[in-house]
């Protein structure tokens, strides 16, 4: 099968495919079906060419395709057609040729099968403008970890060229629903490699990653009511940490990983509590005659952002993490829910109701009087979650009646739809660095 690269001339591609809003499909050897749907034209993007890795078709993955898709999904790169030529990490690429293709950076590498069955994957990154090597690495990995190795290469490239940490080797968690069957799944940040953490005949909502990435808290209805569980992803060991009278929900880990904020109705209404990760010492954080829920800690642990209808209709508020007075944060629009705050604390993503549409918006918290900015064209957006580098959001939305997961840059310009089959995908949450 031929490998279709994403070309610089995206307009030509769009016409060829006759697909509004979608770009190329990458066709790979059947063993590694990998489809990328990315749309949009970014603002400032670094043009980079990623040459097919030598002998990558002898493995079960295509590292160069995974790297290209990662870099493009980040919004920071524009993929330049590498052409059919052979190049690997030992080469001395002719820079004038690459400058002529308008590439500013070049990546080439190789995959070699080792005697013990593992794969040796190597690459080099060049600065085409300066005509010099930036760096490179080699990794020896099991076949099962080739995707992860490719994501780590994409992280390396991203960091060297943008100065920021990449999120390509992080994981996401989300919930699938097909009829009356629900699963909680963990996948790579590109949506591939999904594995089932929990199978249930009852709804699962609100997954939340522990700061060390080893556990997921979530709400399960398996006991015929909302109960908060904490679940070790690698071992499957789980415990109910909040099963009080009424509903127990909306878990959010404090950055120290020892306590969680939860919403409990045990004292009436839906109120914010802090509880130990073992389910011990519940402590009420706020008292309102209203619904207080969807708490999210700021990354520095100082604040809780949460949804409250104490003013009549739901809006986002901020309160000191220990409790106390809450100040309202959202003012535009009459109905705002589902806050997610960026790691640097400067941006709030949330969902606002506009007529009958629920729209993902971003708000600059650092600029007083800033207005929220709409960044999607869809009308049924839910559950935004920031990537740990603060540069991407994952969220759920409806496309042709089905719930799917999308990532977007904060300006809304580059969006990617994560792969899915027939099930509804919902409740996405982006995991931390360092799996």
């Amino acid at each position: 099968m031929t490998l279709l690269s994403l070309t610089l001339s995206q307009i030509r591609f769009r016409r060829r495919l006759a697909c509004a809003g979608l770009l190329a499909l990458l066709a790979l050897p059947a063993a590694a079906q990998f489809r990328v749907e990315i749309s949009g034209v970014g603002a400032t993007q670094l043009p980079i060419a990623v040459v097919r890795f030598r002998d990558e078709d002898k493995s079960n993955q295509s590292p160069s395709a995974i790297i290209r898709a990662d870099l493009e999904r980040s919004g920071a790169f524009r993929i330049v057609d590498a052409g059919g030529g052979a190049l690997d990490e030992t080469a001395r690429p002719p820079m004038p040729e690459w400058r002529a293709k308008a590439a500013d950076a070049l990546v080439a590498g190789s995959v070699a099968r080792l005697a013990d069955g593992r794969f040796d994957i190597r690459f080099k990154l060049w600065d085409v403008v300066k005509g010099s090597e930036i760096g490179g690495q080699s990794q020896a990995v099991d076949a099962a970890d080739l995707r992860l190795a490719s994501h780590r290469i994409a992280d390396y490239i991203y960091e060297k060229l943008t100065g920021e940490k990449g999120v390509f080797s992080t994981r996401i968690a989300y919930v699938t629903r097909a009829g009356n069957r629900y699963t909680l799944r963990v996948a790579d940040a590109d949506g591939e490699n999904g594995q089932v953490a929990l199978n249930s005949g009852q709804p699962i909502i609100s997954p939340a990653w522990s700061p060390n990435g080893k556990e997921l808290a979530y709400v399960s209805f398996e006991r015929q009511k909302a109960v908060v569980f904490v679940h070790n992803v690698a071992t499957g060991e789980r415990r109910a940490i909040a099963d009080f009278r009424g509903s127990n929900s909306a878990p959010a880990w404090a950055p120290d990983g020892e306590r969680l904020a939860v919403t409990l109705s045990r004292d009436g209404g839906s109120q914010l509590f802090s509880i130990g990760k073992g389910g011990d010492s519940p402590r009420r954080l706020a008292s309102s005659p209203a619904i207080d829920t969807e708490a999210q800690y700021s990354v520095d642990g100082r604040y809780l952002y949460f949804t409250s209808d104490r003013g009549g209709a739901p809006q986002i508020y901020r309160m000191a993490a220990n409790g106390g007075n809450a100040e309202r944060v959202t003012f535009s629009g009459g109905f705002s829910i589902s806050p997610s705050v960026s790691p640097d604390g400067r941006t709030l993503a949330y969902v606002t109701r506009n007529a009958n549409a629920f729209k993902l918006v971003v708000l600059d918290l650092a600029t007083p009087g800033a207005q929220p900015v709409t960044i999607t064209e869809t009308g049924d957006d839910e559950h935004p979650s920031f990537a740990p580098n603060g540069r991407l959001l994952i969220y759920a939305t409806k496309v042709q009646g089905r719930s799917v997961l999308m990532t977007t840059t904060l300006d809304g310009k580059i969006k990617a739809r994560l792969p899915s089959q027939t099930a509804d995908l919902r409740e996405p949450v982006w995991g931390p660095y360092g799996r």
Partner: protein, 182 residues
């Protein structure tokens, strides 16, 4: 709905039928026999037991496919709500009254009130809204004589719609609180 729910609803149906039967029979005037002594058509307990034994052999089928549920019990058990509201409207006062009476008439009887919402908005906000709806119905029931200990308010938010659909007629049927026996 799972097996436990089906059994509980069946039990409620049986209990309701037994209760209704005994009420009716208690109201019947005694029948005079030929020799002049009154023969009561049947004591409340006896007929209740008869009605009870025939109800004990009957099985009430319960539709758990998630479509509009018609309750098998004689008690109306659904209260509907406006969008983003948990106010129990006067239209449903009869539902409250009938169930409050059933609860105050039998202190051993327990009910769960399950709050639900339409599917607009987040799962968590809707879970809390459903909880408020359930609690509003519980409060209304206690104001009319039911005891707090007989009731539990829980919520399923938007996770268990009664009706699928993306228009107001579907949404309206999902914004509800359901009373179920526990």
């Amino acid at each position: 709905m799972n097996t436990l729910h089906r059994h509980l609803l069946t039990a409620i149906a049986v209990a309701s039928l037994a209760a209704c039967s005994s009420v009716k029979l208690d109201d019947k005037p005694p029948v005079e026999s030929r020799n002049g002594s009154a023969v009561v058509a049947g004591t409340g307990t006896g007929s209740g037991a008869n009605a009870g034994s025939s109800s004990q052999t009957r099985v009430a089928p319960v539709d758990a496919t998630g479509l509009s549920n018609v309750s098998m019990s004689n008690l109306p058990r659904i209260v509907y709500f406006d969008f983003d509201s948990y106010v129990v409207k006067p239209d449903y006062q009869n539902v409250i009254e009938v169930n409050a009476k059933a609860l105050s008439g039998d202190r051993k009887r327990h009910m769960a009130v399950e709050g639900h919402t339409d599917d607009r908005g987040s799962s968590e906000y809707n879970l809390a809204l459903g909880q408020r709806r359930a609690e509003a119905v519980v409060k209304s029931l206690t104001l009319l004589g039911a005891e707090q200990a007989q009731l539990e308010a829980v919520s399923f938010g938007k996770e268990r719609p009664a009706v699928q659909g993306e228009d107001e007629s579907a949404w309206a049927k999902n914004r509800r609180a359901e009373l179920a026996g526990r």
